[in-house]
Amino acid sequence: SQQGEEDPQALSIQEGENATMNCSYKTSINNLQWYRQNSGRGLVHLILIRSNEREKHSGRLRVTLDTSKKSSSLLITASRAADTASYFCATVFNTGNQFYFGTGTSLTVIP
């Protein structure tokens, strides 16, 4: 499968703690993106990291990409109850091509 795979499948933390989730993939990519999905509704684009980038930040989000290990991680700092959602990585192999989504990490932030 060309899909990314997220790890862990589920994560439960206390509010204020950091949450880290990982994504592994199998073939070379053009870019990798992270999305959030609340309660089985539409996905919200969080951040895109290109294959020639190693780290990107957006607010409380930090994404790293290690192309040699074919893996990425998403760090959410100082988590809030509102961060409770499923998080998906999507790999893109060529610009304009389809996205391959993993099975997601379900994050629960306990107030």
Partner: protein, 113 residues
Amino acid sequence: DAGVTQSPTHLIKTRGQQVTLRCSPKSGHDTVSWYQQALGQGPQFIFQYYEEEERQRGNFPDRFSGHQFPNYSSELNVNALLLGDSALYLCASSLIDSNYGYTFGSGTRLTVV
């Protein structure tokens, strides 16, 4: 500025029936992609439309077909519905060959009974 609009939000159909789902892309976007998301799974790519043509297709049978109109809106049609077609169907819009993320709609929840 409206994002991606999908209709209907929920739908219940009987096995063997046909269904049409609709999507209006975000203003300024010219490409529409459709995804199927089964419960507990990640979205699976069905196909992508650009300039009213199917540009790419995922591993879905011919029962799944689509259309894009001159105003960039799109329809997804599924014939001869199976129980396994029950899923959340997501529409995503973008600019062709853009290296930016998709904008997703809220989806249509299809239940086949």
